[in-house]
Symmetry: C2
Subunit: 352 residues, 2 copies
């Protein structure tokens, strides 16, 4: 070991879903949107003034923040933007959990939460989801310095009612409660109305799923003015210019076309509901998803083997080698014809 | 104070140079390049397949890393990329300075170093530059867990010889030594040849200055395989996908046109050398800059007043309200005609 290695931060990095470089695969493994971004995104890129890139971008990201403000009816000072929701969440962990005590999140949830906690040195306690992957507000009535809830939860897909989030907020005025709404656009109920009532509520969102812009890296957060000020102060202590000039325009263009956005989301919801029926018909079971994915299992099937089988057929879904998830596959909702191919492959597998 | 505020990270954010929104100003305050990026950047943007943005970018940023490898003759596993050099530096502070003891950097240098140290909770000691803003390797023979040296230094513009960096590395095998080469392309001597000899040397670079891509947010680092592995592990514990798909292509396109790059750099060096002469002729003095800026002072002039005067004339330069710098202005080298206007305004000011 080199001498300088004694000063290293010890981490176990998050492992993202595979991003295979081959073409001609059916990619249902990272919850990407099967439809492209709003048509204006293409126009923005083709007309972009490349010369303007010699200058720094607006550190306040005003173009994007103003458009978010107009789209969601939230004041600009209640909005924060970052390099994907992972950046927003990492900054939030840095900002809000610098006190004493554990932060709390479910045992089955986005697997980056514990990575951030360990990287930053925040102690944490996982709260087991119930047998059916639901949770109750009372589960979070233990001492804590912060709570993180994905709603709808991933990878379960389950949505908790707003009344449950409200109960958690009521009981924890001394903690920032982060609600990660990465998937809320696919039929979930947003906690957004509650930011006016609770100054300790931070809602985190992304352009990666419902807005078909995973490749652009745009995340955002809503919260009280005090919360957003604290988050911005930490962000400006880390990197003044996180959002590049092209991305700011791409994000704003996407927000301006709400009809296209709603249309894509609706198509995915339709395909999801059809897929639920097809999985059920084949004997699979799953939590009732409000997202763009399904977490499926089958009592008579070797799920890791099915995963490998599909992969050999160039169909990528996600399998988590994790407690309670080993017998599940997370399947992103793709195009109807991609789902047809998936179900055809599963049928073949079942026929042996 | 709200109850949850007890858990907040306390920070004093870095204040970036002003990014005024008005047009028709002469902007010599944030060391931007007066020439646009390589022509292929424009072509890349106009042909970009917007539909591909629905997918996540390559988390390994291979396109850009491979092009950096080819351009600089450095193996891919010795290269790290991030969202501007600020992101690379912030990640490096997180990664390499998690041990005991102070980190060291000069008292007059890039004013983000102390911001990162305080934000992360790293104790630090500043080493005073000599009266003439130079430093000596012996200054860094004090116990430390890390050393950060900008070379050329900012905002002084002064270049230390490679032999001095080598001496610091020799004496500090237990510390990672970060050499911030943001400005090295404007006539400095890079520490790059030393990465094969010293596994504790990290060299940080940026596309924001010499490559005219401040608006794209691209920074990179060179170091030993072990150093880059440690840095990547922390990065992947923070945000898997930092570099968006457009930026990866923009960065690679810029690197492919080395002739254009060299030409722009040479024009700036020529303008800088002319500007040195003109400042001297007007009675200004300055450290001998190897960068795209000059740190000027004048023994008979009220420098903060000159700053305000220029600002009123829509000429933005940078004044730091900081010890030892109050009587200096940092002036970015702009287009020849912009410098003409600057010198005309200073002449007017001197005539009173």
């Amino acid at each position: 070991m080199a001498l300088w290695e004694k000063n290293l931060r010890r981490v176990t990095p998050y492992v993202p879903g595979e991003q295979p470089k081959e073409q001609n695969i059916i990619k249902l493994n990272t919850n990407e949107n099967p439809y492209g971004p709003a048509p204006e995104v293409s126009r923005i890129l083709s007309c972009f003034d490349a010369d303007s890139l010699r200058k720094y971008p607006d550190p306040e990201a005003s173009l994007l923040v103003k458009q978010l403000s107009a789209t969601y009816g939230v004041p600009e000072e209640s909005i924060f933007v970052g390099v994907g929701s992972d950046d927003v969440l990492a900054m939030s962990f840095l900002t809000f959990f610098a006190g004493e005590g554990d932060i709390l999140f479910p045992d089955v949830t986005y697997s980056f939460y514990d990575v951030w906690a360990r990287m930053i040195g925040i102690s944490y306690k996982t709260i087991p989801l119930h047998e059916d992957f639901t949770w109750a507000p009372e589960d979070y009535e233990v001492p804590n310095q912060g709570i993180v809830l994905a709603n709808p939860n991933a990878p379960t897909g389950l949505m908790a009612p707003l009344s449950d989030i409200r109960k958690v907020l009521e009981k924890n005025p001394g903690s920032v409660v982060i609600v990660d709404e990465a998937y809320v656009d696919f039929g979930g109920e947003s906690t957004l109305p509650l930011i006016q009532e609770y100054d300790n509520l931070l809602i985190v969102r992304t352009f990666s799923k419902s807005r078909s812009l995973a490749g652009s890296r745009i995340g955002f957060a809503f919260g009280s003015r005090q919360l957003i000020k604290a988050l911005s102060d930490v962000k400006f202590s880390f990197n003044s210019y996180t959002m590049d000039s092209v991305t700011l325009q791409v994000g704003a263009a996407s927000l301006r076309d709400q009809d296209y956005f709603q249309d894509c989301v609706q198509k995915i919801i339709t395909t999801r509901e059809e897929s639920k029926k097809r999985f059920s018909d084949m004997g699979f079971s799953f939590p009732d998803s409000s997202t763009n994915f399904l977490l499926v299992t089958h009592k008579d099937m070797d799920i890791p083997a099915l995963y490998e089988y599909l992969r050999d057929k160039h169909i990528y879904v996600r399998h988590f080698n994790a407690p309670r998830l080993n017998d599940y596959l997370r399947v992103t909702i793709g195009l109807p014809e991609e789902m047809d191919q998936l179900f055809a492959a599963i049928s073949q597998y079942m026929k042996g």
